[in-house]
Protein backbone atom coordinates (compact mmCIF):
# COMPACT_ATOMS: atom_id res chain seq x y z
CA UNK A 1 0.00 0.00 0.00
CA UNK A 2 1.08 3.57 -0.59
CA UNK A 3 1.99 5.66 2.45
CA UNK A 4 2.92 9.31 2.23
CA UNK A 5 5.48 10.51 4.79
CA UNK A 6 5.88 14.17 5.75
CA UNK A 7 9.00 15.64 7.35
CA UNK A 8 9.44 18.93 9.20
CA UNK A 9 12.20 21.08 10.68
CA UNK A 10 15.32 19.04 11.61
CA UNK A 11 13.69 15.86 10.26
CA UNK A 12 13.14 17.52 6.88
CA UNK A 13 16.78 18.55 6.83
CA UNK A 14 17.94 15.04 7.73
CA UNK A 15 15.66 13.49 5.08
CA UNK A 16 16.66 16.18 2.55
CA UNK A 17 13.03 16.26 1.39
CA UNK A 18 9.67 17.42 2.66
CA UNK A 19 7.75 14.33 1.69
CA UNK A 20 8.17 10.83 0.36
CA UNK A 21 5.75 8.18 -0.84
CA UNK A 22 6.60 4.55 -0.13
CA UNK A 23 4.88 1.40 -1.26
CA UNK A 24 4.99 -0.91 1.76
CA UNK A 25 3.40 -4.31 2.41
CA UNK A 26 1.06 -3.11 5.17
CA UNK A 27 1.10 -3.15 8.95
CA UNK A 28 1.22 -0.43 11.59
CA UNK A 29 3.13 2.81 12.05
CA UNK A 30 6.16 0.99 13.50
CA UNK A 31 6.34 -1.25 10.44
CA UNK A 32 6.11 1.76 8.15
CA UNK A 33 8.90 3.53 10.06
CA UNK A 34 11.12 0.47 9.61
CA UNK A 35 10.65 0.69 5.87
CA UNK A 36 11.26 4.41 5.97
CA UNK A 37 14.52 4.04 7.88
CA UNK A 38 15.75 1.46 5.38
CA UNK A 39 15.06 3.94 2.62
CA UNK A 40 16.51 6.96 4.46
CA UNK A 41 19.09 5.71 7.01
CA UNK A 42 19.80 9.32 8.08
CA UNK A 43 16.43 9.29 9.86
CA UNK A 44 17.30 6.39 12.14
CA UNK A 45 18.74 8.47 14.97
CA UNK A 46 15.74 10.82 14.93
CA UNK A 47 12.92 8.30 15.09
CA UNK A 48 12.89 7.89 18.88
CA UNK A 49 12.26 11.57 19.52
CA UNK A 50 9.47 12.27 17.05
CA UNK A 51 5.75 12.14 17.60
CA UNK A 52 3.65 10.61 14.88
CA UNK A 53 0.55 12.08 13.29
CA UNK A 54 -1.55 9.97 10.94
CA UNK A 55 -3.83 12.03 8.69
CA UNK A 56 -3.20 15.10 10.88
CA UNK A 57 -4.11 13.41 14.20
CA UNK A 58 -1.48 12.51 16.79
CA UNK A 59 -1.29 8.75 16.86
CA UNK A 60 0.55 5.93 18.61
CA UNK A 61 2.85 3.64 16.73
CA UNK A 62 0.65 0.57 17.01
CA UNK A 63 -1.99 2.15 14.81
CA UNK A 64 -2.71 0.13 11.68
CA UNK A 65 -2.23 1.99 8.45
CA UNK A 66 -4.42 2.00 5.37
CA UNK A 67 -3.77 2.67 1.72
CA UNK A 68 -3.18 6.37 1.16
CA UNK A 69 -2.54 7.33 4.79
CA UNK A 70 -0.30 10.31 5.49
CA UNK A 71 2.25 9.75 8.28
CA UNK A 72 3.90 12.92 9.59
CA UNK A 73 7.08 12.82 11.69
CA UNK A 74 6.66 15.62 14.22
CA UNK A 75 9.81 16.74 16.03
CA UNK A 76 9.39 18.47 19.41
CA UNK A 77 7.64 21.81 18.88
CA UNK A 78 9.33 25.10 19.72
CA UNK A 79 7.18 25.51 22.84
CA UNK A 80 7.33 27.48 26.03
CA UNK A 81 10.08 30.02 25.39
CA UNK A 82 9.21 33.68 24.82
Amino acid sequence: MNIRFLFFASIREAAKTRELELDIPGGNVNDALSHLETRIPELRRHLDRVQIAVNEEYSDRNRSLREGDTVALIPPVSGGKS
Binding site: F8, R12, E56, I74, P75, V77, S78, G80
Partner: protein
Protein backbone atom coordinates in the same frame (compact mmCIF):
# COMPACT_ATOMS: atom_id res chain seq x y z
CA UNK B 1 -10.07 34.53 12.52
CA UNK B 2 -7.36 31.91 12.04
CA UNK B 3 -4.46 32.53 9.67
CA UNK B 4 -1.06 31.12 8.83
CA UNK B 5 0.73 33.36 6.38
CA UNK B 6 4.15 34.31 5.12
CA UNK B 7 3.45 38.04 4.89
CA UNK B 8 3.30 40.52 7.76
CA UNK B 9 0.03 41.33 9.51
CA UNK B 10 -1.56 44.52 10.76
CA UNK B 11 -2.58 44.49 14.43
CA UNK B 12 -5.03 47.32 13.73
CA UNK B 13 -6.67 45.42 10.88
CA UNK B 14 -7.21 42.38 13.08
CA UNK B 15 -8.69 44.54 15.85
CA UNK B 16 -11.02 46.21 13.35
CA UNK B 17 -12.10 42.84 11.99
CA UNK B 18 -12.96 41.59 15.49
CA UNK B 19 -14.87 44.63 16.72
CA UNK B 20 -18.57 44.21 17.18
CA UNK B 21 -21.34 45.44 19.43
CA UNK B 22 -21.23 44.30 23.02
CA UNK B 23 -17.45 44.17 23.24
CA UNK B 24 -15.78 46.07 26.04
CA UNK B 25 -12.22 44.84 25.57
CA UNK B 26 -9.87 43.49 22.95
CA UNK B 27 -6.52 42.32 24.32
CA UNK B 28 -3.76 41.53 21.84
CA UNK B 29 -0.39 39.84 22.17
CA UNK B 30 2.22 40.34 19.46
CA UNK B 31 5.25 38.07 19.37
CA UNK B 32 8.32 39.73 17.83
CA UNK B 33 11.51 38.17 16.44
CA UNK B 34 14.25 38.66 19.02
CA UNK B 35 17.71 39.85 18.07
CA UNK B 36 19.35 37.75 20.76
CA UNK B 37 19.22 34.03 21.53
CA UNK B 38 18.50 32.54 24.96
CA UNK B 39 22.23 32.18 25.53
CA UNK B 40 22.95 35.77 24.54
CA UNK B 41 24.18 35.34 20.98
CA UNK B 42 23.18 37.80 18.25
CA UNK B 43 20.45 36.42 15.97
CA UNK B 44 20.39 37.37 12.29
CA UNK B 45 16.99 35.87 11.52
CA UNK B 46 14.46 33.23 12.49
CA UNK B 47 12.83 30.75 10.14
CA UNK B 48 9.58 28.91 10.76
CA UNK B 49 8.56 25.56 9.44
CA UNK B 50 4.91 24.60 9.78
CA UNK B 51 2.64 21.64 9.15
CA UNK B 52 0.06 24.02 7.83
CA UNK B 53 -3.11 21.96 7.64
CA UNK B 54 -2.54 20.42 11.07
CA UNK B 55 -1.55 23.77 12.59
CA UNK B 56 -4.73 25.36 11.26
CA UNK B 57 -6.76 22.63 12.95
CA UNK B 58 -4.80 23.14 16.18
CA UNK B 59 -5.38 26.91 16.03
CA UNK B 60 -9.09 26.44 15.38
CA UNK B 61 -9.39 24.16 18.41
CA UNK B 62 -7.38 26.51 20.64
CA UNK B 63 -9.53 29.45 19.54
CA UNK B 64 -12.79 27.59 20.17
CA UNK B 65 -11.57 26.26 23.53
CA UNK B 66 -10.61 29.75 24.66
CA UNK B 67 -13.92 31.24 23.54
CA UNK B 68 -15.81 28.66 25.61
CA UNK B 69 -13.46 28.64 28.56
CA UNK B 70 -13.26 32.41 29.02
CA UNK B 71 -16.65 33.41 27.59
CA UNK B 72 -15.08 35.45 24.80
CA UNK B 73 -17.14 37.08 22.07
CA UNK B 74 -14.47 36.40 19.45
CA UNK B 75 -10.76 35.57 19.13
CA UNK B 76 -8.06 35.63 16.48
CA UNK B 77 -4.77 33.80 15.89
CA UNK B 78 -2.39 34.90 13.11
CA UNK B 79 1.00 33.20 12.79
CA UNK B 80 3.69 33.83 10.21
CA UNK B 81 6.02 31.28 8.70
CA UNK B 82 9.10 31.69 6.53
CA UNK B 83 11.93 34.00 7.51
CA UNK B 84 11.85 37.08 9.76
CA UNK B 85 14.56 39.41 10.91
CA UNK B 86 14.78 40.86 14.45
CA UNK B 87 11.97 43.29 15.12
CA UNK B 88 9.52 41.72 12.68
CA UNK B 89 6.12 40.44 13.76
CA UNK B 90 5.81 36.67 14.31
CA UNK B 91 2.46 35.96 15.87
CA UNK B 92 -0.66 37.83 16.91
CA UNK B 93 -3.22 36.66 19.45
CA UNK B 94 -6.37 38.68 20.05
CA UNK B 95 -9.15 38.04 22.55
CA UNK B 96 -12.35 40.06 22.53
CA UNK B 97 -14.81 40.05 25.41
CA UNK B 98 -17.20 42.15 27.42
CA UNK B 99 -14.65 42.80 30.17
CA UNK B 100 -10.89 42.95 30.21
CA UNK B 101 -9.87 40.25 32.68
CA UNK B 102 -11.11 37.30 30.65
CA UNK B 103 -9.52 38.76 27.52
CA UNK B 104 -6.13 39.03 29.26
CA UNK B 105 -6.43 35.48 30.60
CA UNK B 106 -7.52 34.10 27.22
CA UNK B 107 -4.54 35.68 25.43
CA UNK B 108 -2.16 33.99 27.84
CA UNK B 109 -3.99 30.67 27.49
CA UNK B 110 -4.01 30.75 23.68
CA UNK B 111 -0.32 31.59 23.42
CA UNK B 112 0.63 28.84 25.88
CA UNK B 113 -1.48 26.29 24.01
CA UNK B 114 0.04 27.26 20.65
CA UNK B 115 3.54 26.83 22.02
CA UNK B 116 2.62 23.54 23.66
CA UNK B 117 0.75 21.84 20.87
CA UNK B 118 0.81 23.49 17.44
CA UNK B 119 3.13 21.90 14.85
CA UNK B 120 5.37 24.93 14.23
CA UNK B 121 9.14 24.94 14.49
CA UNK B 122 11.49 27.88 14.87
CA UNK B 123 15.06 27.92 13.68
CA UNK B 124 17.49 30.60 14.83
CA UNK B 125 20.13 31.73 12.40
CA UNK B 126 22.91 33.32 14.40
CA UNK B 127 25.18 36.11 13.24
CA UNK B 128 28.11 33.69 13.19
CA UNK B 129 26.23 31.48 10.71
CA UNK B 130 25.23 28.76 13.17
CA UNK B 131 21.68 27.47 12.65
CA UNK B 132 19.66 25.65 15.28
CA UNK B 133 16.11 24.45 15.74
CA UNK B 134 14.63 25.70 19.01
CA UNK B 135 13.02 23.26 21.40
CA UNK B 136 14.50 20.14 19.88
Amino acid sequence: MIRIQREDFSVDAVIQALKQQGMGAIVTFTGIARGESRDGKPVRAVEWDVYETMALRAFAKIREDSIHRFGLIDAAIVHRYGRQEPGENLVLIAAASSHRQEAFDACQFMMNEIKRSAPLWKKEILDDGEERWIGE
